[in-house]
């Protein structure tokens, strides 16, 4: 590749669809991920709206034998849509979300590198995600799957639906995740620019690094678990099948050995984004840089010791339950370290309530609720009561949506000028925040109450007593939908008619803002030399 002429950037250096599909530029691959992940998000979101729509009214059979209040054709359809919502959102949206979009674009920029360590592998991992996603979509729309995203045995062995292809699709998206993680670890180790020591890396990089460690060490276990499940369905090997002396709970051990750390694959990068946002918009050096960096590694480490809290009532031994209960509470320590450091960063800062900061503040508020209810659920007697109720649904949506999705939106608005070289409409960005934040609480807070009242999750219908709160919840989901449509409008409007973005619109201190907006193909004109920490605000 010849050096680009003046004024050209990574977006316009080469033209045509083919140049995008074969690009090895980490920024372009990030954009590819952005388009695909947002499309999956749209699909998963539509599925969520359908689920909430079904739950809007209590289904009753009137005197004439006619069913009222039913939206979906059948309870089976509800189960399938529930599976699609979970599988799409987990495997194709939140797991690749921040690392593959924002991480791909900004990890090399933030450490002053020209690219990630293995550009071809980077593109290959996008193709893996697309292959897995295509297989999953094909399965969903040609046949059906009804196990939920967890594929628990023994039901997943017996289910007559297309579990095997769905499992293979998840296997392939897992490959994508491993390749991304591997790439990021080597990039962080080897490609930092002169002067960029580990302890001068931005906290977003620390978060991605910790995430990458989990991706590499946990995902292979998911791979073998899913392969065994596929084998179990094809040949009945018997490892998870009680009929042959197998142990269905072993499946859950294997599954959660990956899938609990995977929860931190989802939230750690979000925490990295929040660290960037809070310090930038408080115009103040981050409080406790080292503590936040270590707590990222700490969360990554602890995440491997707590998986059994998903199995308190699954037939795991009481002793194991008690051990896991105590270990789970440890997660609260590094997480709280982060929360307190963010709050301390804002203390006496000159806070600017720009839209990314609003999302960051929304994150703090919602994640605190999600985190504290998580500690509640770690207590066995409470969990036995709340297990498989809407309380758990509300809890993990507060963490995943209130946490990760808020951070994705905030990070996306924050870096939008750098990615596309244009500014977006601040008014519409704030409006989208209002609708998403309010709508989120209206949707999910009632679900805490419903859970405490005993409404079980994953059900197609409920008793009439649950109807009012479900109505409120469904209406909240419409507010969220409006909020995301506004965000979509903000993005499209910004891309078409946004003002030209300056190099550093927010006055940030990290390295990516020293590149042009949008950056040139090689990121920096000259290799940057770092002489100070990442957040040296006066």
């Amino acid at each position: 590749m010849a050096h680009a002429a003046h004024g050209s950037n990574y977006l316009n250096a080469e033209k045509g669809l083919w140049s995008w599909l074969t690009s090895l530029d980490h920024k372009r691959i990030g954009i590819l991920y952005f388009i695909s992940v947002m499309s999956f998000f749209l699909l998963g979101g539509i599925a969520a709206l359908l689920l909430r729509g079904e739950l809007f009214a209590y289904n009753a059979v009137d005197a004439l034998g006619k069913t009222t209040g039913q939206l979906l054709p059948s309870a089976d359809a509800y189960n399938q849509i529930l599976t699609y919502h979970g599988a799409i959102m987990v495997f194709m949206v939140i797991i690749p979300g921040i690392p593959a979009i924002l991480g791909n674009i900004f990890l090399p920029l933030q450490i002053g590198a020209k690219d990630v360590a293995f550009p071809k592998l980077n593109l290959a991992s996008w193709y893996c995600l697309m292959a897995g996603a295509s297989l999953a979509m094909f399965t969903m729309f040609s046949t059906k799957v009804d196990t939920g995203w967890t594929f628990y045995t023994p039901y997943s062995i017996k289910s007559g639906t297309a579990v095997t292809t769905m499992v293979l699709a998840a296997f392939i998206t897992g490959m994508s995740s491993i390749l991304t993680g591997l790439n990021f670890i080597v990039t962080v180790h080897k490609l930092r620019c002169p002067g960029m020591t580990m302890w001068r890396m931005p906290l977003f990089v620390w978060a991605l690094y910790s995430t990458a460690i989990i991706q590499v060490l946990a995902t292979p276990i998911l791979a073998i678990t899913l392969l065994l499940l596929a084998m179990e369905r094809t040949f009945g090997v018997g490892i998870f099948d009680p009929k042959l002396g197998g142990d269905p709970v072993l499946f859950q051990h294997f599954f959660w050995f990956y899938s609990h750390p995977a929860v931190y694959i989802m939230i750690l990068p979000a925490m990295g984004v929040i660290s960037e946002l809070i310090t930038t918009f408080s115009k103040k050096t981050i409080f406790g840089y080292t503590a936040i960096a270590y707590s990222s590694l700490g969360i990554a480490a602890v995440s491997f010791f707590v998986w059994g809290h998903h199995m308190f009532v699954s037939g795991q031994s009481e002793f194991a339950g008690i051990v896991f209960s105590f270990l789970t509470m440890l997660v609260g320590v590094p997480t709280a370290i982060k929360m307190f450091n963010w709050v301390a960063t804002m203390y006496k800062g000159s806070i600017e309530f720009a839209s990314p900061m609003l999302f960051a503040l929304g994150f703090l508020f919602l994640f605190a609720i999600g985190g504290v209810t998580g500690i509640m659920l770690a207590v066995i007697p409470v969990d036995v009561h709340f297990h498989d109720t809407y309380f758990v649904v509300a809890h993990f949506h507060y963490v995943m949506v209130g946490g990760t999705l808020m951070a994705i939106m905030g990070g996306f608005y924050y870096w939008f000028p750098k990615m596309f070289g244009k500014m977006y409409s601040e008014f519409w960005a704030r409006m989208s925040w209002v609708f998403i934040f309010v709508g989120f609480n209206v949707t999910f807070f009632p679900q805490f109450i419903l859970g405490a009242m005993g409404m079980p999750r994953r059900y197609f219908n409920y008793i009439p007593a649950y109807e009012p709160l479900n109505r409120i919840s469904t209406m909240g989901s419409w507010l969220i939908a409006i909020g995301f449509l506004m965000a979509l409008y903000t993005i499209i409007n910004g891309l078409i008619s946004g003002a030209k973005a300056p190099k550093n619109p927010w006055g940030s201190k990290t390295l990516e803002w020293e590149a042009d907006s949008p950056p040139s193909v090689h990121n920096f004109d000259h290799e940057p030399v770092v002489t100070a920490g990442p957040y040296e605000y006066k």
Partner: protein, 223 residues
């Protein structure tokens, strides 16, 4: 190109690129260990629970074939290591020879595996639920041996076919990758400063050997 090494532009020099590639390879190998390891964990757990059943299953495996296969794989590991060595001392022709022998050993391994598998299928031995107990007992009766005692013998063969099958898939993948290295070696891509591909594929091939080193006693001997 710097000293015959195609250095990508985001690396400073050849050794920077080589060190990064090596680290990537090792990370990938850690994932391989974890993936195979999942099966080993399952095997150990159920072996502790049903030792008699596992012992009964293992007697259907011919340790002599496993033994020959072990020797074949160790020899292939040696030739693979020699392939890298000859690249390092700039003797590509010898390297091509060593790699070709490695592929041949992989093929011998798979052929022996094929005969083992077909023999089992002939006896009615299939993984898990598909194990044909009637057919197996019939064969045992003809050979004058006692009938099967364990009720869940299928699980042993579930493990046997999953573990040796996954291993076999890796052998085939490894053979494909060595063929690619062989082609590049013949084309003259490698020299003492640049042989990353052979090195990486070599490490992968040794992992295959490593897994088999444990599979052999686990499946054939201890049972």
């Amino acid at each position: 190109m710097i000293n015959g090494v195609p250095v990508q532009e985001h690396y400073r020099d050849a050794s920077h690129q080589f060190a990064s590639a090596k680290e990537g390879i090792w990370l990938f190998m850690a994932t391989e260990i974890l993936m195979f390891g999942g099966l080993f964990v399952g095997y150990l757990i159920f072996h502790m629970k049903y030792p008699e059943m596992f012992a009964e299953g293992a007697q259907f495996l011919d340790w002599r074939l496993g033994f020959i296969n072990t020797l074949v794989l160790i020899f292939s590991s040696l030739t693979m290591a020699l392939g890298i060595y000859f690249c390092q001392i700039n003797q590509p022709k010898k390297a091509v020879g060593a790699l070709a022998v490695t592929i041949l050993c992989g093929a011998i391994f798979m052929v022996i595996k094929y005969f083992e598998y077909t023999h089992k299928f002939h006896m009615g031995i299939f993984p898990g639920r598909m194990l044909d107990l009637e057919m197996l007992n019939h064969h045992l009766h003809e050979m004058g041996k006692p009938a099967i005692v364990s009720t869940n013998l299928g699980m042993y063969f579930g493990f046997y076919f999953c573990m040796s099958g996954l291993h076999g898939i890796h052998v085939i993948l490894g053979m494909c990758m060595i063929s690619w290295c062989l082609y590049r070696c013949m084309r003259g891509d490698f020299n003492p400063n640049y042989y990353t591909a052979v090195e990486g594929v070599g490490i992968f091939w040794h992992i295959i050997d490593l897994v088999w080193i444990f599979l052999f006693p686990l499946l054939y001997l201890v049972g």
